[in-house]
Amino acid sequence: MPAIPLHPPAASRTPSIPNPLPQLLQTPSGLAIVEIQGTLNSTLSAPQMGPHGSIPLGKLSFPLYDPLAAVQNTAWQKLVYLYVGRHQRLTGEVRKLGKPLAVVRKRGGNAGVSDDGGEGREAMEIVEVVYYKVLFAHRPEPVGGGVEG
């Protein structure tokens, strides 16, 4: 059976959308990894779709992050909050991955032309190489309902 090529990330990949994450977690394609221990069950009684069919999970916040502070200031990495719904909060941290992770997918789709003969041979590509993840490893804790707008 033919070998399946795995292409490296495209040299020029720039996000078209501003990235809300701290600089350290930003990648050229914008992809990032968030890991939550256990499963995230929707606390919403009925799935309330946000715009374009997405399911809102909550808010991700880096309370100690200061974009203007020196890069060597890494204390902010130890505290990340994920507010889920109105009443729960997960606490997590930024972790450097032991080995960087390649985010891989099948290449092409419609544009199935490959370098070698254009037979539309199956190929994979690395979309991004990610060096950090945000990890939530604690149980959610209740938080007092904030003032909702």
Binding site: M1, Q37, K59, S61, L101, R105
Partner: protein, 344 residues
Amino acid sequence: MSTQADEGSSFSLLPEEGRQHFRLLELPPELLRLVVSERTILHFKSGPKTSEAGSNLEAVLCSPDKTFHIRQVNTSNSVYICQPTSHNDDDENPQPGLQAVAQSSWTLELSEAASLPSAAHYLKAALPTYSSTGTYQSKDPPASQQQIFDDIPVSQAECEAAWRDLACFELKNEPKGCFLPRPNAKVQVWRSILESATAAGVDVSRDPISPELIEQSVDRNDEDWPDELGHAMLDGVCDHEGMLDPGKWVRAVGLDLLAVEGARGLPASELLKKWRDALPEQWRKRVQVEALPRSEYTLTDDRKTITSAGAESGVAAAAAETKSTLGAKRKWHEKFRESKKAAK
């Protein structure tokens, strides 16, 4: 006053239908460098299942010259792959948010596959043979060299090295295809080359000497072994600069003779004599048992009898290879060794 609801960026999840299919693959430092700095294309390969390999041989990931075994590691955590989105709940004041576009419950981990069966093992299993009687085994349909390499879960460079070591060759004319020469064919060719070179007065002690010079001297009379085989054999005993390496040549002749004569053991002195006779005079002093790789023979009877370690048999050769790579920590490697012992 800022509230929890105001802090941070919105985090949403695409519903299942909209999600992308990503896999997460760990990159050891060497592959990271190849992918990021050198923009090398890697290759996923999977091999044919053989009974000798025991359980299914799973996919491997190959760099141009290294092979990495792939292991799927599951997690019970929810691992989300996210990207920025410009859409969030608050259409009046759209802030960039983060959206999980994929979820992966497993990661692919890589380990160097040193203890897997070698490319040589796979080539011996895959290739039809050519023997000294001029007989070609058939393989239907004939496969090209690259097709054969694609089927072997080992990197390209390792396949090419094994191909050279085994003096495999490819014929473009009938009978088309790739062939593995049996040792008896190679012994015939070594003797033929020696005769022709001697007759033509080619001085092999002249340093360096090119394969072309030898090829030009070869007069095969009625012998019908293919040019491609002679070329492959000479190629296999060249050094890095493409010049014939006396040490490699001497070793190759010895190994082929041992494979032909030594299946059931023969007096070491007899092997050494035949070996010398098959070599140019200037190289005969290099002949000694120790010039052969240790894994290829056993000496018994007070070192008087030498027996081939089963170069013909794929099973024994693979067993010898796995024995020489002790120290593999992973359980599945141990399972592999045990199943091989059972097979013997």
